[in-house]
């Protein structure tokens, strides 16, 4: 297709800026200087994908190599997809506008389970066979990384290589091996066997899975001397880890339209529901100097007037005060606003509030997660009601009038008392506001409670628990609505259908590949978007494949059962998860990593919080 015709078609769709490319800092290279072309695919739309930090890191890291050209690819929105199909436009890289089927690598990032159908759709739009075994040519190789690779078994049939853990090193090692194998005329199979020996590389086709009569897994068997288990890869020294000095700056407005500066990886807290808190262990911090240097460089290269610190829990950064002092030094001078997401209630000091006051004042958001102390102890969210109220007082005294609270519904051991506790807590915050003599004058308070549905995830102490059924969720949501008495409280909750599918995939096995393929054929895509999600189609797909989804989502698992992800080693031992689950049942909390080591197993890397002086 010639460029003129292509551009004319672009003008017929919504937001052509999603597909036009040419943004600040996007990288265009001369093909003839390139050995390896890499299509970095985000299986959601441009606005979501461009907000993702991991893509920015790897895009820049790859493109810094002279022999690699990495381009960006996003899932085309259905209006443009229709245009593509009508005019036989194959899925292309934004930079070159050339079909990615001619690239060496097609890499997907797996950020959430509900993007799986989009991966199939994107492969189809590329003109490639969907199943890995049907792609006989050496290239393109379909690879995937990101948090969901800790159990990406549901898409194992479509992917050649999974990267476990952090990809900065294993990606490049695989690319180098690929160059060597291609030069020496090796086959795809030989290459995959070689690649499986690289730490952090999981080649699903090299493992056979057999099943018991009751549907559980009997055995996972490696072939061709593939490693067992396969251990995740991490960066051990974040001060030496690659971090981009440039981000591509989109023209169109995206979800997180600002510079992002990572400050540490991992989380010390060990909240038992939180997968990120376990799979990114151990905690590794960047130094204040590194953060300031990198943050400054990014602001200068992008022109962004806002920078956000990124981590799982900003206020757990050990040198937060000196960091903020140093950052504010240049952000105030350059009129850059600094935002601090992921603050915890228990170490939210007056000083910190004052620092944030230097920058833009918006609402405050706290993740309380559960309505009663008992349930907060079960999930190991070590914050007390007293701390919540105290923090709200501090915030109100500082001029804030809007508080947003995050909760979850469907947590293990949850009762209706715990649900009522959510409404009670919100009411107490409202009352606190009106009891304060120094409350902001002439203003009303607003407490927004946002309740999501808990989905048990692999590598968490709750991986053994059944997800509650959709009927139970509806009943609990209804009950909570009835418990709320004040008009100062607003209640937001999630559609429960998507949580169910997420729950199925999160702990699913390879047999789900057939279901995903079937659902794709029925037109399922953009499942995380309410306007496109169609549970009926998914249910048809499950039925036609003879698979009962509740088997994956709503079943209690024994400690002895072999899980679909048991051959993957994320360096948190199953023994530790079992111990934590038992503690949860007793509503006993576990101290955080800085207080006391809980012996999860993450110390095998010899670095990070495990070796800090306590």
């Amino acid at each position: 297709m010639d460029n003129k015709r292509f551009e004319q078609l672009l003008l017929s769709v919504q937001k052509p800026g999603r597909y036009s490319g040419g943004e600040i800092n996007s990288v265009v290279k001369d093909k003839k200087d390139i050995d390896v072309r890499f299509a970095f695919c985000f299986p959601d739309n441009y606005e979501v994908g461009m907000s993702h930090l991991g893509m920015k890191i790897l895009y820049s890291q790859f493109n810094e190599r002279k022999d690699i050209w990495c381009e960006r690819v996003f899932a085309p929105w259905p209006d443009f997809e229709a245009v593509m199909r009508q005019n036989n436009i194959l899925l292309f890289g934004l930079e070159s506008r050339e079909p990615i089927k001619d690239f060496d690598f097609i890499g997907f990032t797996l950020q959430y389970e509900l993007s799986y159908s989009n991966i199939l759709n994107m492969l189809e739009l590329s003109g490639l066979p969907l199943l890995a075994k049907d792609r006989k040519d050496f290239t393109p190789l379909v690879v995937a990384g990101g948090p969901c690779t800790c159990n990406a078994e549901p898409i194992a049939d479509f992917v050649d290589i999974f990267f476990l853990g952090e990809g900065e090193q294993s990606d490049l090692e695989v690319i180098d091996l690929y160059k060597k194998c291609k030069k020496n005329g090796k086959s795809k199979k030989d290459f995959l066997i070689e690649a499986s020996k690289i730490e952090g590389v999981y080649v699903p086709s090299l493992y056979d899975v057999s099943y018991n009569d009751d549907g559980t897994i009997e055995k996972i068997t490696p072939k061709e001397n593939a490693p067992m288990p396969i251990r995740k890869r991490i960066e051990t020294d974040l001060d030496k880890t690659y971090y981009p000095e440039k981000f591509v700056v989109p023209y169109i407005e995206i979800v997180h339209d600002r510079a992002v500066q990572e400050i540490f990886r991992g989380c010390i807290r060990g909240c038992r529901f939180c997968q990120a808190g376990f799979i990114y262990r151990p905690v590794r911090e960047k130094s204040v100097e590194t953060i300031c240097r990198q943050a400054k460089a990014i602001c200068e290269s992008t022109g962004y007037d806002e920078i956000s610190l990124s981590s799982l829990s900003t206020s757990d950064y050990t040198k937060l005060e000196p960091l903020l002092n140093d950052l504010l030094d240049f952000t105030e001078k350059d009129k850059i606003s600094l935002s601090l997401p992921s603050l915890r209630i228990d170490n939210f000091s007056d000083e910190l509030l004052e620092k944030i006051n230097h920058v833009r004042k918006s609402g405050l958001t706290f993740a309380v997660e559960a309505g009663t102390q008992r349930l907060r102890n079960v999930i190991n969210k070590n914050i007390t009601e007293e701390e919540i109220i105290r923090t709200c007082k501090t915030a109100f005294a500082g001029g804030y009038t809007a508080v947003k609270l995050y909760f979850m519904m469907g947590l293990p051991t949850e009762t209706y008392d715990d649900i009522k506790g959510i409404a009670d807590l919100a009411q107490k915050i409202v009352d606190t506001f009106y009891e304060m003599p120094n409350k902001p004058k002439g203003k009303s308070v607003s407490v927004n409670i946002s309740v999501s549905n808990f989905v048990p995830k692999p590598f968490t102490p709750f991986e053994f628990h059944p997800q509650i059924t959709r009927e139970e969720i509806v009943a609990k949501q209804q009950y909570l609505k009835e418990c709320i008495r004040s008009r100062k409280i607003t209640f937001n909750y999630h559609e429960n259908k998507t949580s169910f599918l997420e729950g199925v995939f999160a702990r699913g096995d390879r047999r789900l590949s057939a279901v995903i393929l079937k659902a794709h054929e029925k037109g399922c895509k953009f499942d995380s978007w309410d306007e496109y999600f169609d549970l009926d189609k998914w249910n048809e797909a499950f039925a036609e494949c003879g698979i009962v989804p509740e088997f994956y989502a709503n079943r209690e698992r024994t400690y002895e059962e072999i899980n679909p992800w048991d051959h993957l080693d994320y360096c948190v031992s199953k023994g530790f998860l079992i111990k934590e689950n038992e503690q949860a049942k007793l509503a006993v909390t576990t101290p955080n990593c800085r207080q006391k080591c809980a012996s999860c197993g993450a110390n095998v890397f010899g670095k990070g919080v495990c070796f800090e002086k306590r």
Binding site: E7, P16, G17, G22, Y251, E300, S301, T302, G303
Partner: protein, 225 residues
């Protein structure tokens, strides 16, 4: 009433082109893009003094999405009265993507309200007879079409009487329709109206085309600067 600081703010009119991939950038997005570019270029630009200070940037005439622009105008204010204007252009170009290029910086002479017309080139991929069809079409006494008003409803207008001047020429495989149409706050005609109307009349064949706004004129048909 009295301020300790004395500001000598200098208004600077920047001229730039918008081509190739940049034509998919909407006016709203160009606005945001320019605030980033002036920051990136480290211009000593004047910031608004409200609660959220931002660089003060205004545009003379928004360019519709999909159009190329050869004579786009953006006004800024700089703090240093003595800053050489040529340097500003170089600084901006060094940080801009290739599809947006600055070519001049001047002190504004005319006010934005004096804008009266704009000139456009519409280039069609020709298969030999689009020129003839265009001549037929533009030769009509009236070209009546519907235009959306600011209120959101549609009113009928005759574009023919709005066309100040036009020219049709064929070069190689391309046919170029050049137009002068009213532009600015009083009366503004988007050439897309004319093209849509043209395709309504001749809906048998479709030719790819690109629209370029080549210049902005004042009410006396002189270059707006």
């Amino acid at each position: 009433m009295f301020s300790e600081r004395v500001f000598v703010l200098k208004s600077v009119r920047l001229l730039f082109t918008k081509s190739a991939r940049a034509r998919f950038v909407s006016h709203l997005d160009i606005n945001r893009f320019m605030t980033r570019i002036v920051r990136k270029a480290k211009l000593d630009i004047w910031y608004t003094e409200g609660f959220n200070p931002h660089p003060y940037i205004t545009f003379a005439l928004p360019l519709p999405l999909g159009f190329e622009g050869k004579y786009e105008i953006m006004d800024i204010r700089i703090n240093d009265d003595n800053a050489p204007l040529g340097e500003i252009v170089d600084k901006l170009n060094s940080v801009c993507p290739p599809d947006i290029r600055f070519f001049d910086a001047v002190e504004p002479i005319k006010k934005v309200g004096e804008i009266g017309y704009a000139t456009y080139d519409i280039v069609f991929d020709d298969n030999g007879n689009v020129a003839q069809k265009l001549k037929e079409f533009i030769g009509k006494d009236k070209i009546v079409t519907k235009k959306r008003t600011k209120k959101g409803d549609y009113k009928e207008i005759d574009i023919k009487e709005k066309i100040k001047a036009f020219d049709i020429g064929v070069v190689g495989n391309e046919t170029k329709l050049s137009l002068v149409l009213p532009a600015g706050s009083d009366d503004n005609i988007n050439p897309a109206l004319l093209i849509d109307s043209f395709y309504n009349d001749f809906n048998d064949e479709y030719y790819c085309y690109t629209v370029t706004r080549t210049s902005i004129l004042d009410k006396n048909m002189e270059k707006f600067i």
